[in-house]
């Protein structure tokens, strides 16, 4: 099977690959907040209630997942995803054993942004 434009399938696969973890994180953090609150930086927890922070983060993840799946202005959705993932990596560097896969997701987001850079 030869594709005329493999970049379409690559873009779709990358969008799903990024959207599903965002969607899962939003749902899992809503169902079991106590398991996720530890990933929030302490200085933010000192400023705002933890439940509010987690709710905002879950909402943002959900919106980002839907934006990625919609295929609308993908380069911006991918760039924002890359920034969010980079932020997660930097803030949780001490827990690299848990977040090491986010490095791969971050690079996938960068690849998606590059794929759509000139579109």
């Amino acid at each position: 099977m030869k594709l005329k434009d493999p970049s379409k399938l690559a873009s779709f696969t990358l969008r799903v690959a990024l959207a599903v973890p965002f969607l899962y994180a939003a749902i899992a953090a809503t169902l079991q907040p106590e398991a996720w609150i530890g990933f929030m930086p302490q200085f933010l927890q000192n400023l705002l209630p933890a439940s509010l922070l987690l709710g905002a983060h879950s909402s943002m993840n959900m919106i980002l997942a839907l934006w990625l799946l919609s295929g609308w202005k993908t380069k911006y959705a991918a760039a924002l995803s890359a920034l969010v993932l980079l932020n997660i990596i930097v803030v949780n560097l001490g827990a690299l054993d848990i977040i090491f896969r986010d490095v791969g997701l971050f690079l996938a987001a960068v690849s998606l942004a590059l794929l759509h850079y000139q579109k």
Binding site: M1, T13, V16, V20, Y24, I27, Q32, A35
Partner: protein, 132 residues
Amino acid sequence: MSAAIASFITLTIVGILNAGYLVWKHYSHKPLVCPMDHDCSKVTESKWSRVFWVRNEVLGLLFYVTMLVAGLLVFFMPTSSLVTGITIAVGGGLLFSFFLLWVQFYKVKDYCFYCMLSGLITLLLFVNCFFL
């Protein structure tokens, strides 16, 4: 267990978006954009596009919405009979997906990317059921 429920709900939402996209495209009379440079409408608009007078994508959408509600019920009111019921329902959905796969390859002699994706989501949901 809550991780399994979260993944179950995630899969149902992806399924809703997938089936919802097909429903939206059909009823707004817009062409399907398939990521594999392929004309999915050969399958979605074939004579096999309806079962019992209901379009397959509408059935799929109803199935995923029902499973989303069922997944939420398992989280808030977990009972073994509910989990068994979900497993049987998803098993039925999986058999229907296999039937549609057979229709695509042996009757229509073509394939539809989103229909195959729906089958994959149902397969993952079925595996997920054993961890609920």
